[in-house]
Subunit: 432 residues, 2 copies
């Protein structure tokens, strides 16, 4: 017997309500974005460590890895989940709270190749999984995140399992098994933020999804009510268990449509301010003073006052806004460096930038007020949740992908995402 | 920077304080017991499912699996941890609260073979790991268990990682990395009790230990304070964090010495009553009435009144005591069957057995009062924590192992455990 929430999720995951055309379009954008982040992330030290473990184990070449080579799909999901989150440049869903693509696409592409599924089947299964991740994330709620769980990894594992199960053709009862078994396996702590453990958490979730789906396919019988039942994942992991809100519109409203992509290679908490400042056409020589207002929650996350390292810069309003005003490319991976922090013009400008908490703003919102040297006062605000035209999102992501993996490859991949080719054809682009 | 508890554990795990001779002797008994449970457990359906996953993945033959065959050591740990706990017949440490051997030996034997270590090195590393599992279990405390976490899997993963790390020759700073990385990976819920998910939890912990040690060896950098620091494993997982009690005597007092072995193939909550009843030389025709007193916590765990399945019998005071009185072997795996439950003499006798909660007793204690047909009243009590002579423990475990895997093999294994042979020699006994 399963509870109301698990039953609804299992029926959705195995059912006939398919993603809207808009959700599918956004899903394609996220797939391109994920490919670009994964290929670019393969150069990171954490990716090399996971790769070396895969090489030492060897085994059946069931799917392809970012950085090249093939391995069993459980391992591929671990490597690709870690690698695609290594730069922390992938998409975010603010209701989730987490990064849906790195966990779910990593699982779906691995399982899709193992089972010889087409690219369209992988995209559709991943969209079902990502929608489920968002719903489970909502159900777990803010307390779960605040106490220390990394929702990308916890809620994400359920989405990864369901995407893998969808590719295996599971019915509702098998999907309930996937959910129940994932409940005993999903893990990941925010205490790993700022270390290699953060991207590893995403890899864990992806790999959990593949493992669980494979076990259920082989006839594994777990407690299908281990997510919401007594002593279940919700009860043990500080879940809110508000299933009514979490299920609202499931199957008709596709929350994944509002996923947010990163166009600056820094903490997502800084992006609304950067977008607002962009509207003001910020230029350093004109800046007398700049004031940023943002949701209080970000003050402890990304308000480092005067960092001197590249990593610190990625968590500093004052630094990234000074970079923007000085014409440093905030989308460039190499822009966030110790050298940038050491620039005297940047340090001088940084002193004229002030950050203030404002609890009337949403978490996705910022207001930037510029006092120009000529006395003019300008203000702009931006909300990351505001609707952006699909064509504009497409242009931005294709351009981001081109800068990360080269225009030629980005365009071939984008083209492929519109055709019903074998998923292995797309995955061959993961390698060098 | 690590907290006091992690620092002490990391120093212990990498240090020079070795297990006492008694701890080593008990460790050898547990190794034989674990081998017997693992080989016998390989016939269970859950073991077949894990085995088929290992076969599909293939890869480097780093270590041996129960049931035969070799695979990468991460996979071997997953298979062997699950398989050796499949019968639920392995050892228990009541302070842990959990089953130390199935997680730690499964990790240590896998890693030991991969790194070409001797049997003595594996035994010693496993004892360090099991001691650490017990200490982490104490630190997590009763709340952690009561809320729904399966301590075998959660505390056990830390012990598995440390045992694997010890075999890799880690220093204190690497051990702190093992502990910190395990904190983001350890998982397992009691909601899986009664399903294949329970033994799988043990496999997960073993596999986590091997994976984490391999990553740290390759240079992985996690947050070494993720067990006890802010937003760490303790804070998120309802840990008591009473490090003073948990560290009491660490390195000089070997808590593992008091591990408890099962000599009846049923729930550990029934064993004290069975031992007490054995002292009364219970025989069905003489029983007018039998009263059992036990700690209240067991009333919800193993007091099924009149089960009709073999699985139900394993959780029923009245059934196992009736079996004992009727001369049915409570150590035999096949004794717990639907047929046994259906016996009319057993059902008649069961009605004369009464179970009562008694909160003056320890969890490991039971009192059995027999009213004989001749009017004589006899009483016996047993505490599983009471000291048993090593020679008596040895005799019981060798006899149990002989009944599970045959006397010849059990004696070869027991002999081998006293010699410094390669660990792969012992592991070759896992197969058919």
């Amino acid at each position: 017997m399963t509870g109301i929430f698990t039953k609804a999720l299992a029926e959705f995951a195995s059912g006939e309500l398919l993603p809207t055309p808009l959700a599918m379009s956004v899903g394609r954008l996220s797939a391109l974005d994920w490919l670009a982040c994964g290929r670019a992330g393969a150069a990171e030290p954490v990716s090399h460590i996971l790769h070396s473990m895969a090489a030492a184990e060897g085994g059946a070449q069931q799917a392809h890895m970012f950085g090249g080579g093939a391995a069993p799909s459980r391992m591929v999901a671990l490597v690709n989940g870690t690698t695609s989150h290594a730069l922390d440049y992938d998409d975010t869903h603010f209701a989730h709270i987490g990064h849906p693509s790195v966990t779910v696409y990593s699982a779906a592409f691995a399982m899709g190749q193992q089972l010889d599924r087409t690219l369209s089947q992988v995209l559709q299964a991943a969209l079902m999984g990502m929608e489920l991740s968002v719903r489970v994330g909502l159900w777990l709620g803010r307390d779960h995140y605040q106490v220390g769980y990394h929702q990308t990894a916890t809620a994400g594992a359920f989405g990864a399992g369901v995407a893998a199960g969808r590719l295996a053709g599971f019915d509702a009862s098998q999907m309930a098994q996937v959910i129940g078994l994932t409940a005993t396996r999903a893990a990941g702590l925010k205490a790993q933020f700022g270390t290699m453990g953060k991207p590893y958490n995403a890899g864990l979730a992806a790999s959990t999804g593949v493992e669980v789906a494979q076990l259920v396919q082989a006839g594994f019988e777990a407690n299908p009510d281990a997510l919401e039942g007594d002593f279940g994942f919700g009860a043990t992991h500080h879940g809110s268990a508000d299933y009514k809100s979490a299920l609202d519109g499931l199957g008709t409203v596709w929350m994944f449509e509002t996923v947010s992509h990163k166009f600056h290679a820094c903490c997502h908490g800084l992006h609304a301010a950067l977008e607002a400042a962009r509207e003001l056409e910020l230029a350093a020589p004109e800046v007398a003073e700049l004031q940023v207002r943002t949701h209080p929650r970000w003050m402890l996350v990304c308000n480092q006052m005067a960092p001197y390292t590249g990593l610190g810069a990625k968590f500093s309003y004052r630094t990234v806004l000074a970079m923007l005003a000085l014409g440093v490319d905030t989308a460039g991976l190499d822009s966030y460096s110790d050298e940038t922090c050491a620039r005297s013009d940047l340090q001088a400008l940084r002193k004229r930038i002030h950050v203030q908490a404002d609890d009337t703003l949403a978490e996705t919102e910022s207001v930037v007020t510029l006092l120009r040297r000529d006395g003019l006062r300008l203000e702009a605000s931006h909300d990351l949740q505001s609707v952006v035209e699909l064509s504009q999102r497409e242009q931005s992501i294709r351009s981001k992908a081109a800068s990360l993996i080269g225009e030629a490859r980005a365009e071939v991949a984008w083209d492929m995402l519109h055709k019903n080719v074998p998923s292995s054809a797309f995955a061959e682009m993961f390698g060098s």
